[in-house]
Protein backbone atom coordinates (compact mmCIF):
# COMPACT_ATOMS: atom_id res chain seq x y z
CA UNK A 1 0.00 0.00 0.00
CA UNK A 2 2.36 2.61 -1.19
CA UNK A 3 -0.04 5.43 -0.71
CA UNK A 4 -3.63 5.61 0.22
CA UNK A 5 -3.72 9.35 0.23
CA UNK A 6 -2.51 10.69 -3.00
CA UNK A 7 -4.15 8.26 -5.34
CA UNK A 8 -4.59 10.44 -8.38
CA UNK A 9 -4.74 13.41 -6.08
CA UNK A 10 -8.38 12.73 -5.41
CA UNK A 11 -8.26 13.31 -1.69
CA UNK A 12 -6.33 16.50 -1.87
CA UNK A 13 -4.82 17.45 1.44
CA UNK A 14 -7.90 17.85 3.52
CA UNK A 15 -8.51 14.23 4.50
CA UNK A 16 -5.92 11.61 5.08
CA UNK A 17 -5.69 8.00 5.91
CA UNK A 18 -3.06 8.01 8.58
CA UNK A 19 -1.80 6.08 11.52
CA UNK A 20 -0.33 8.04 14.36
CA UNK A 21 3.18 7.19 15.41
CA UNK A 22 3.67 5.67 18.82
CA UNK A 23 3.98 8.13 21.65
CA UNK A 24 7.59 9.39 21.89
CA UNK A 25 7.38 8.98 25.66
CA UNK A 26 6.90 5.28 25.07
CA UNK A 27 10.33 5.03 23.55
CA UNK A 28 12.00 6.71 26.49
CA UNK A 29 10.14 4.51 28.98
CA UNK A 30 10.93 1.36 27.02
CA UNK A 31 14.62 2.13 26.65
CA UNK A 32 14.87 2.93 30.36
CA UNK A 33 13.24 -0.39 31.18
CA UNK A 34 15.55 -2.27 28.83
CA UNK A 35 18.64 -0.52 30.16
CA UNK A 36 17.73 -1.63 33.66
CA UNK A 37 17.32 -5.23 32.60
CA UNK A 38 20.36 -7.03 31.23
CA UNK A 39 19.49 -9.82 28.79
CA UNK A 40 21.70 -12.68 27.66
CA UNK A 41 23.60 -12.16 24.42
CA UNK A 42 24.04 -14.53 21.51
CA UNK A 43 27.61 -15.73 22.03
CA UNK A 44 26.73 -16.95 25.54
CA UNK A 45 23.53 -18.56 24.30
CA UNK A 46 25.34 -20.36 21.48
CA UNK A 47 27.79 -21.93 23.89
CA UNK A 48 24.92 -22.96 26.13
CA UNK A 49 23.00 -24.48 23.19
CA UNK A 50 26.06 -26.37 22.00
CA UNK A 51 26.59 -27.73 25.52
CA UNK A 52 22.96 -28.86 25.73
CA UNK A 53 23.12 -30.64 22.37
CA UNK A 54 26.41 -32.29 23.20
CA UNK A 55 25.01 -33.32 26.57
CA UNK A 56 21.97 -34.92 24.92
CA UNK A 57 24.14 -36.77 22.44
CA UNK A 58 26.51 -38.05 25.11
CA UNK A 59 23.64 -39.06 27.39
CA UNK A 60 22.11 -41.14 24.58
CA UNK A 61 25.45 -42.80 23.93
CA UNK A 62 25.96 -43.43 27.64
CA UNK A 63 22.58 -45.15 27.95
CA UNK A 64 23.39 -47.18 24.84
CA UNK A 65 26.70 -48.33 26.33
CA UNK A 66 25.13 -49.09 29.72
CA UNK A 67 22.53 -51.26 28.00
CA UNK A 68 25.31 -53.19 26.29
CA UNK A 69 26.56 -51.28 23.25
CA UNK A 70 26.95 -52.76 19.79
CA UNK A 71 25.88 -56.35 19.25
CA UNK A 72 25.97 -58.05 15.83
CA UNK A 73 24.60 -61.50 16.72
CA UNK A 74 23.87 -63.65 13.70
CA UNK A 75 23.35 -60.72 11.38
CA UNK A 76 25.80 -60.31 8.49
CA UNK A 77 28.48 -57.78 9.45
CA UNK A 78 28.04 -55.98 6.13
CA UNK A 79 24.33 -55.60 6.84
CA UNK A 80 24.98 -54.09 10.26
CA UNK A 81 27.60 -51.69 8.87
CA UNK A 82 25.40 -50.67 5.94
CA UNK A 83 22.38 -50.09 8.20
CA UNK A 84 24.47 -48.05 10.64
CA UNK A 85 25.84 -45.86 7.87
CA UNK A 86 22.48 -45.41 6.13
CA UNK A 87 20.49 -44.68 9.31
CA UNK A 88 23.25 -42.40 10.57
CA UNK A 89 23.32 -40.52 7.27
CA UNK A 90 19.56 -40.13 7.44
CA UNK A 91 19.83 -38.71 10.96
CA UNK A 92 22.47 -36.21 9.83
CA UNK A 93 20.48 -35.23 6.76
CA UNK A 94 17.30 -34.62 8.74
CA UNK A 95 19.23 -32.67 11.39
CA UNK A 96 20.68 -30.51 8.63
CA UNK A 97 17.20 -29.84 7.26
CA UNK A 98 16.21 -28.49 10.66
CA UNK A 99 18.69 -25.62 10.27
CA UNK A 100 16.71 -22.54 9.18
CA UNK A 101 17.29 -21.26 5.65
CA UNK A 102 19.61 -18.24 5.35
CA UNK A 103 17.97 -15.05 6.52
CA UNK A 104 15.27 -16.69 8.60
CA UNK A 105 15.00 -16.60 12.37
CA UNK A 106 11.74 -18.53 12.39
CA UNK A 107 13.02 -21.98 11.45
CA UNK A 108 12.59 -24.09 8.34
CA UNK A 109 9.58 -23.74 6.07
CA UNK A 110 6.50 -25.83 6.81
CA UNK A 111 7.15 -27.97 3.75
CA UNK A 112 10.64 -28.80 5.03
CA UNK A 113 9.32 -29.67 8.47
CA UNK A 114 6.59 -31.82 6.94
CA UNK A 115 9.21 -33.55 4.79
CA UNK A 116 11.22 -34.35 7.94
CA UNK A 117 8.19 -35.68 9.81
CA UNK A 118 6.89 -37.82 6.96
CA UNK A 119 10.23 -38.62 5.41
CA UNK A 120 11.91 -40.07 8.51
CA UNK A 121 9.68 -43.15 9.01
CA UNK A 122 9.24 -43.56 5.28
CA UNK A 123 12.99 -43.55 4.60
CA UNK A 124 13.63 -45.94 7.50
CA UNK A 125 10.98 -48.32 6.13
CA UNK A 126 12.60 -48.22 2.71
CA UNK A 127 15.99 -48.97 4.27
CA UNK A 128 14.53 -51.87 6.25
CA UNK A 129 13.04 -53.43 3.12
CA UNK A 130 16.20 -52.72 1.14
CA UNK A 131 18.29 -54.47 3.81
CA UNK A 132 16.04 -57.49 3.62
CA UNK A 133 16.37 -57.60 -0.18
CA UNK A 134 20.15 -57.12 -0.24
CA UNK A 135 20.84 -59.52 2.67
CA UNK A 136 18.32 -62.39 2.38
CA UNK A 137 20.05 -64.17 5.28
CA UNK A 138 18.52 -61.65 7.67
CA UNK A 139 15.17 -63.40 7.23
CA UNK A 140 16.21 -65.98 9.80
CA UNK A 141 17.39 -63.47 12.43
CA UNK A 142 14.20 -63.62 14.47
CA UNK A 143 13.65 -63.81 18.22
CA UNK A 144 11.04 -64.45 20.93
CA UNK A 145 7.54 -62.99 20.76
CA UNK A 146 8.07 -59.96 22.98
CA UNK A 147 11.37 -58.82 21.49
CA UNK A 148 9.73 -55.99 19.55
CA UNK A 149 8.37 -54.47 22.76
CA UNK A 150 11.82 -54.37 24.27
CA UNK A 151 13.33 -52.74 21.18
CA UNK A 152 10.47 -50.25 21.11
CA UNK A 153 11.21 -49.31 24.72
CA UNK A 154 14.96 -49.06 24.22
CA UNK A 155 14.55 -47.06 21.05
CA UNK A 156 12.45 -44.50 22.95
CA UNK A 157 14.96 -44.54 25.80
CA UNK A 158 17.90 -43.83 23.47
CA UNK A 159 15.94 -41.04 21.79
CA UNK A 160 14.88 -39.30 24.98
CA UNK A 161 18.09 -37.36 25.81
CA UNK A 162 18.43 -36.02 22.26
CA UNK A 163 14.79 -35.02 22.25
CA UNK A 164 15.17 -33.35 25.61
CA UNK A 165 18.16 -31.41 24.29
CA UNK A 166 16.11 -30.18 21.30
CA UNK A 167 13.27 -29.13 23.56
CA UNK A 168 15.45 -27.37 26.14
CA UNK A 169 17.40 -25.52 23.46
CA UNK A 170 14.34 -24.33 21.54
CA UNK A 171 11.50 -24.02 24.03
CA UNK A 172 10.01 -20.58 24.37
CA UNK A 173 11.67 -19.29 21.18
CA UNK A 174 9.80 -17.91 18.20
CA UNK A 175 8.88 -20.69 15.77
CA UNK A 176 6.71 -20.56 12.73
CA UNK A 177 4.72 -23.72 13.42
CA UNK A 178 5.21 -25.12 16.90
CA UNK A 179 3.44 -28.46 16.39
CA UNK A 180 5.34 -29.22 13.18
CA UNK A 181 8.60 -28.21 14.82
CA UNK A 182 7.80 -30.53 17.72
CA UNK A 183 6.98 -33.39 15.36
CA UNK A 184 10.25 -32.82 13.52
CA UNK A 185 12.21 -32.83 16.79
CA UNK A 186 10.50 -36.10 17.74
CA UNK A 187 11.16 -37.70 14.36
CA UNK A 188 14.84 -36.74 14.32
CA UNK A 189 15.41 -37.87 17.89
CA UNK A 190 13.56 -41.07 17.01
CA UNK A 191 15.92 -41.59 14.08
CA UNK A 192 18.89 -41.40 16.40
CA UNK A 193 17.24 -43.90 18.76
CA UNK A 194 16.51 -46.15 15.79
CA UNK A 195 20.16 -45.97 14.74
CA UNK A 196 21.36 -47.03 18.19
CA UNK A 197 18.83 -49.82 18.61
CA UNK A 198 19.76 -51.16 15.19
CA UNK A 199 23.37 -51.38 16.36
CA UNK A 200 22.25 -53.16 19.51
CA UNK A 201 19.40 -55.46 18.42
CA UNK A 202 20.44 -58.79 16.90
CA UNK A 203 17.09 -59.43 15.19
CA UNK A 204 16.60 -58.33 11.61
CA UNK A 205 13.24 -59.55 10.36
CA UNK A 206 11.18 -56.84 8.71
CA UNK A 207 8.08 -56.89 10.98
CA UNK A 208 10.29 -56.62 14.06
CA UNK A 209 12.27 -53.75 12.60
CA UNK A 210 9.12 -51.88 11.65
CA UNK A 211 7.50 -52.31 15.08
CA UNK A 212 10.53 -52.11 17.34
CA UNK A 213 12.76 -49.66 15.47
CA UNK A 214 10.67 -47.54 13.08
CA UNK A 215 7.40 -47.19 14.99
CA UNK A 216 9.04 -45.22 17.85
CA UNK A 217 9.97 -42.56 15.30
CA UNK A 218 6.30 -42.12 14.47
CA UNK A 219 5.25 -42.27 18.11
CA UNK A 220 7.76 -39.64 19.19
CA UNK A 221 6.77 -37.36 16.31
CA UNK A 222 3.09 -37.60 17.22
CA UNK A 223 3.61 -37.23 20.98
CA UNK A 224 5.88 -34.20 20.72
CA UNK A 225 3.55 -32.60 18.16
CA UNK A 226 0.68 -32.97 20.61
CA UNK A 227 2.70 -31.61 23.52
CA UNK A 228 4.42 -28.90 21.50
CA UNK A 229 1.98 -26.07 22.17
CA UNK A 230 2.25 -26.16 25.97
CA UNK A 231 5.93 -27.09 26.00
CA UNK A 232 7.59 -25.33 23.10
CA UNK A 233 5.52 -22.30 22.24
CA UNK A 234 6.78 -18.76 22.58
CA UNK A 235 6.28 -17.29 26.00
CA UNK A 236 6.80 -13.84 27.38
CA UNK A 237 9.81 -13.78 29.63
Amino acid sequence: MSDLNDSHGARGDTAKFSVPLPNPALRAALFAKIAAEPAPVRPTQRRWDAAIRLGGFLASLAIFLIVGGVSVGERPAGYVAAMAVAWGALFLLLSRLLVPPPGSALGPRRATLAAIVLGAPLALTVLVVLGRVLWPATATCDGPNNHSDRCFFYSCLFSAPILLAFVVARRGTVMRDVALHGAAFGAIAGCFGALLITLRCVYAVVPHLLVGHVAPVILLGVVVALLAEPILRFRER
Partner: protein, 245 residues
Protein backbone atom coordinates in the same frame (compact mmCIF):
# COMPACT_ATOMS: atom_id res chain seq x y z
CA UNK B 1 -14.12 7.01 -8.53
CA UNK B 2 -10.36 6.96 -8.24
CA UNK B 3 -8.78 3.84 -6.88
CA UNK B 4 -8.23 3.81 -3.17
CA UNK B 5 -4.82 2.34 -3.51
CA UNK B 6 -2.39 3.66 -6.02
CA UNK B 7 -0.36 0.52 -6.36
CA UNK B 8 1.13 -1.49 -9.13
CA UNK B 9 1.07 -5.12 -8.03
CA UNK B 10 4.19 -5.90 -9.96
CA UNK B 11 6.12 -3.16 -8.27
CA UNK B 12 7.58 -3.62 -4.80
CA UNK B 13 6.46 -1.17 -2.14
CA UNK B 14 7.91 2.22 -2.91
CA UNK B 15 10.51 3.67 -0.59
CA UNK B 16 8.69 6.00 1.66
CA UNK B 17 9.34 8.39 4.41
CA UNK B 18 6.98 8.49 7.30
CA UNK B 19 4.92 11.54 7.70
CA UNK B 20 1.73 12.45 9.39
CA UNK B 21 0.06 11.94 6.05
CA UNK B 22 1.36 8.49 5.41
CA UNK B 23 -1.41 5.94 5.26
CA UNK B 24 -0.67 2.89 7.26
CA UNK B 25 2.84 2.64 8.53
CA UNK B 26 3.46 1.27 5.14
CA UNK B 27 6.81 0.38 4.49
CA UNK B 28 8.75 -0.69 1.61
CA UNK B 29 11.90 0.32 3.28
CA UNK B 30 13.79 -2.15 1.20
CA UNK B 31 15.62 0.55 -0.62
CA UNK B 32 14.58 -0.52 -4.09
CA UNK B 33 13.69 2.12 -6.57
CA UNK B 34 10.32 1.52 -8.12
CA UNK B 35 11.80 2.64 -11.42
CA UNK B 36 14.42 -0.07 -11.43
CA UNK B 37 12.74 -3.44 -11.82
CA UNK B 38 15.99 -5.38 -11.47
CA UNK B 39 16.99 -3.66 -8.27
CA UNK B 40 13.43 -4.01 -7.07
CA UNK B 41 13.35 -7.72 -7.76
CA UNK B 42 16.70 -8.21 -6.07
CA UNK B 43 15.56 -6.25 -3.04
CA UNK B 44 12.37 -8.28 -2.99
CA UNK B 45 14.27 -11.51 -2.69
CA UNK B 46 17.05 -10.22 -0.43
CA UNK B 47 16.66 -10.93 3.24
CA UNK B 48 18.70 -10.19 6.31
CA UNK B 49 20.64 -7.32 4.76
CA UNK B 50 18.69 -4.19 5.68
CA UNK B 51 20.12 -1.72 8.23
CA UNK B 52 17.73 -2.97 10.91
CA UNK B 53 18.82 -6.56 10.26
CA UNK B 54 22.47 -5.57 10.64
CA UNK B 55 21.61 -3.58 13.76
CA UNK B 56 19.68 -6.50 15.27
CA UNK B 57 22.66 -8.76 14.69
CA UNK B 58 24.87 -6.28 16.52
CA UNK B 59 22.28 -6.00 19.28
CA UNK B 60 22.10 -9.78 19.66
CA UNK B 61 25.87 -9.78 20.04
CA UNK B 62 25.64 -7.27 22.87
CA UNK B 63 25.80 -3.82 21.21
CA UNK B 64 22.96 -2.16 23.13
CA UNK B 65 23.04 1.06 21.09
CA UNK B 66 21.98 -0.84 17.98
CA UNK B 67 18.48 -1.17 19.43
CA UNK B 68 17.86 2.47 18.43
CA UNK B 69 18.08 1.53 14.75
CA UNK B 70 15.85 -1.50 15.23
CA UNK B 71 13.29 0.56 17.12
CA UNK B 72 13.23 3.37 14.57
CA UNK B 73 12.73 0.91 11.73
CA UNK B 74 10.19 -1.38 13.32
CA UNK B 75 8.23 0.56 15.92
CA UNK B 76 6.01 2.48 13.47
CA UNK B 77 5.28 -0.67 11.47
CA UNK B 78 4.57 -2.77 14.53
CA UNK B 79 2.46 0.02 15.99
CA UNK B 80 0.35 0.11 12.84
CA UNK B 81 0.14 -3.68 12.87
CA UNK B 82 -1.25 -3.63 16.42
CA UNK B 83 -3.44 -0.59 15.89
CA UNK B 84 -5.17 -2.14 12.89
CA UNK B 85 -5.92 -5.26 14.85
CA UNK B 86 -6.63 -3.93 18.33
CA UNK B 87 -8.32 -0.69 17.24
CA UNK B 88 -7.09 0.87 20.44
CA UNK B 89 -4.11 3.14 20.81
CA UNK B 90 -3.64 2.12 24.41
CA UNK B 91 -3.56 -1.58 23.61
CA UNK B 92 -1.32 -1.02 20.58
CA UNK B 93 1.21 0.90 22.68
CA UNK B 94 1.14 -1.76 25.36
CA UNK B 95 1.71 -4.51 22.80
CA UNK B 96 4.46 -2.50 21.11
CA UNK B 97 6.25 -2.09 24.41
CA UNK B 98 5.86 -5.78 25.26
CA UNK B 99 7.12 -6.78 21.82
CA UNK B 100 10.31 -4.77 22.21
CA UNK B 101 10.82 -6.13 25.70
CA UNK B 102 10.58 -9.64 24.24
CA UNK B 103 12.97 -8.72 21.44
CA UNK B 104 15.37 -7.60 24.15
CA UNK B 105 14.92 -10.69 26.32
CA UNK B 106 15.07 -13.11 23.38
CA UNK B 107 17.87 -11.37 21.50
CA UNK B 108 20.26 -14.23 22.24
CA UNK B 109 18.04 -16.52 20.16
CA UNK B 110 18.13 -14.29 17.08
CA UNK B 111 19.97 -16.19 14.37
CA UNK B 112 22.96 -14.54 12.74
CA UNK B 113 22.18 -13.08 9.32
CA UNK B 114 18.42 -13.39 9.77
CA UNK B 115 15.87 -10.70 8.96
CA UNK B 116 14.51 -9.00 12.04
CA UNK B 117 11.12 -7.89 10.67
CA UNK B 118 9.51 -11.35 10.26
CA UNK B 119 10.88 -12.33 13.66
CA UNK B 120 9.57 -9.20 15.36
CA UNK B 121 6.19 -9.50 13.65
CA UNK B 122 5.97 -13.14 14.71
CA UNK B 123 6.61 -12.09 18.31
CA UNK B 124 4.07 -9.29 17.97
CA UNK B 125 1.49 -11.59 16.47
CA UNK B 126 1.98 -14.10 19.27
CA UNK B 127 1.58 -11.38 21.90
CA UNK B 128 -1.52 -10.06 20.20
CA UNK B 129 -3.07 -13.54 20.11
CA UNK B 130 -2.25 -13.98 23.80
CA UNK B 131 -3.80 -10.60 24.50
CA UNK B 132 -6.98 -11.58 22.66
CA UNK B 133 -7.13 -14.91 24.41
CA UNK B 134 -6.38 -13.55 27.85
CA UNK B 135 -8.94 -10.82 27.79
CA UNK B 136 -11.52 -12.65 25.68
CA UNK B 137 -11.76 -9.65 23.45
CA UNK B 138 -11.88 -11.46 20.14
CA UNK B 139 -15.66 -11.59 19.96
CA UNK B 140 -16.02 -7.97 20.93
CA UNK B 141 -13.36 -6.94 18.46
CA UNK B 142 -15.10 -8.71 15.60
CA UNK B 143 -18.39 -7.18 16.64
CA UNK B 144 -16.98 -3.69 16.54
CA UNK B 145 -15.23 -3.86 13.26
CA UNK B 146 -17.50 -1.78 11.09
CA UNK B 147 -16.60 1.83 11.62
CA UNK B 148 -15.49 1.75 15.21
CA UNK B 149 -11.91 2.67 15.69
CA UNK B 150 -11.47 4.05 12.20
CA UNK B 151 -10.86 7.54 13.51
CA UNK B 152 -7.21 6.64 13.85
CA UNK B 153 -7.07 6.02 10.12
CA UNK B 154 -8.29 9.43 9.13
CA UNK B 155 -7.34 12.97 9.82
CA UNK B 156 -8.00 16.33 8.27
CA UNK B 157 -9.82 19.59 8.67
CA UNK B 158 -12.71 19.09 6.25
CA UNK B 159 -15.39 17.02 8.02
CA UNK B 160 -16.94 15.89 4.75
CA UNK B 161 -13.64 14.71 3.38
CA UNK B 162 -12.82 12.99 6.65
CA UNK B 163 -16.18 11.24 6.64
CA UNK B 164 -15.64 10.17 3.07
CA UNK B 165 -12.14 8.93 3.86
CA UNK B 166 -13.44 6.98 6.82
CA UNK B 167 -16.16 5.46 4.70
CA UNK B 168 -13.60 4.47 2.12
CA UNK B 169 -11.30 3.03 4.78
CA UNK B 170 -14.17 1.04 6.29
CA UNK B 171 -15.12 -0.22 2.86
CA UNK B 172 -11.56 -1.20 2.08
CA UNK B 173 -11.10 -3.00 5.41
CA UNK B 174 -14.37 -4.89 4.88
CA UNK B 175 -13.21 -6.07 1.49
CA UNK B 176 -9.85 -7.00 2.93
CA UNK B 177 -11.53 -9.19 5.53
CA UNK B 178 -13.44 -11.03 2.84
CA UNK B 179 -10.21 -12.30 1.33
CA UNK B 180 -9.01 -15.83 2.07
CA UNK B 181 -6.76 -15.62 5.10
CA UNK B 182 -3.53 -16.58 3.33
CA UNK B 183 -4.05 -13.85 0.72
CA UNK B 184 -5.12 -11.25 3.25
CA UNK B 185 -2.14 -11.81 5.51
CA UNK B 186 0.29 -11.77 2.59
CA UNK B 187 -1.25 -8.53 1.28
CA UNK B 188 -1.21 -6.89 4.71
CA UNK B 189 2.38 -7.85 5.39
CA UNK B 190 3.70 -6.59 2.08
CA UNK B 191 1.55 -3.58 1.35
CA UNK B 192 0.52 -2.38 4.77
CA UNK B 193 3.17 -3.54 7.20
CA UNK B 194 5.94 -2.96 4.70
CA UNK B 195 7.75 -6.27 4.72
CA UNK B 196 9.62 -7.23 1.59
CA UNK B 197 8.37 -10.26 -0.32
CA UNK B 198 11.21 -12.33 1.11
CA UNK B 199 10.45 -11.19 4.66
CA UNK B 200 6.74 -11.86 4.22
CA UNK B 201 7.55 -15.29 2.80
CA UNK B 202 9.71 -15.98 5.84
CA UNK B 203 6.91 -14.90 8.18
CA UNK B 204 4.38 -17.05 6.32
CA UNK B 205 6.67 -20.05 5.92
CA UNK B 206 6.05 -20.00 2.19
CA UNK B 207 8.28 -19.48 -0.81
CA UNK B 208 8.74 -16.00 -2.26
CA UNK B 209 6.92 -17.07 -5.42
CA UNK B 210 3.95 -18.39 -3.45
CA UNK B 211 3.82 -15.14 -1.49
CA UNK B 212 3.86 -13.13 -4.70
CA UNK B 213 1.02 -15.25 -6.04
CA UNK B 214 -1.01 -14.68 -2.87
CA UNK B 215 -0.44 -10.92 -3.07
CA UNK B 216 -1.34 -10.88 -6.73
CA UNK B 217 -4.56 -12.75 -6.04
CA UNK B 218 -5.36 -10.34 -3.24
CA UNK B 219 -4.83 -7.45 -5.62
CA UNK B 220 -7.05 -9.08 -8.15
CA UNK B 221 -9.74 -9.84 -5.60
CA UNK B 222 -9.63 -6.30 -4.26
CA UNK B 223 -10.01 -4.95 -7.76
CA UNK B 224 -6.72 -3.13 -7.57
CA UNK B 225 -5.42 -4.42 -10.85
CA UNK B 226 -7.89 -2.44 -12.88
CA UNK B 227 -8.28 0.41 -10.44
CA UNK B 228 -11.74 -0.67 -9.32
CA UNK B 229 -12.54 -1.04 -5.69
CA UNK B 230 -16.16 -0.47 -4.93
CA UNK B 231 -19.12 -2.48 -5.98
CA UNK B 232 -18.32 -6.12 -6.24
CA UNK B 233 -17.24 -8.67 -3.70
CA UNK B 234 -13.75 -10.10 -3.99
CA UNK B 235 -14.00 -12.60 -6.77
CA UNK B 236 -12.21 -15.41 -5.00
CA UNK B 237 -13.35 -14.72 -1.48
CA UNK B 238 -14.82 -18.19 -1.25
CA UNK B 239 -12.08 -19.98 -3.05
CA UNK B 240 -9.98 -20.47 0.07
CA UNK B 241 -6.90 -19.61 -1.90
CA UNK B 242 -7.13 -22.64 -4.10
CA UNK B 243 -3.83 -23.32 -5.67
CA UNK B 244 -1.86 -21.42 -3.10
CA UNK B 245 0.96 -23.24 -1.58
Amino acid sequence: MPPLLDVDPHRPPAPQTRSAASPFPAAAENGASPDDPHAAAAADDAIGTSPEDVAMNAYADGDDRALNVVYDALAPRLFGFFLRRARSREVAEDLLQRTFLQIHRHRANFLRGAAVAPWAFAIGRRLFLDHVRDRSTERRRLGERDDDGLEFLTSGSDPEAVASAREEAAHFLKRLELLPENQRIAFELVRIDGLSMAEAADFLGATVSATKVRCHRAYKALGLLDGQLRGEAPENADSGGKGDR
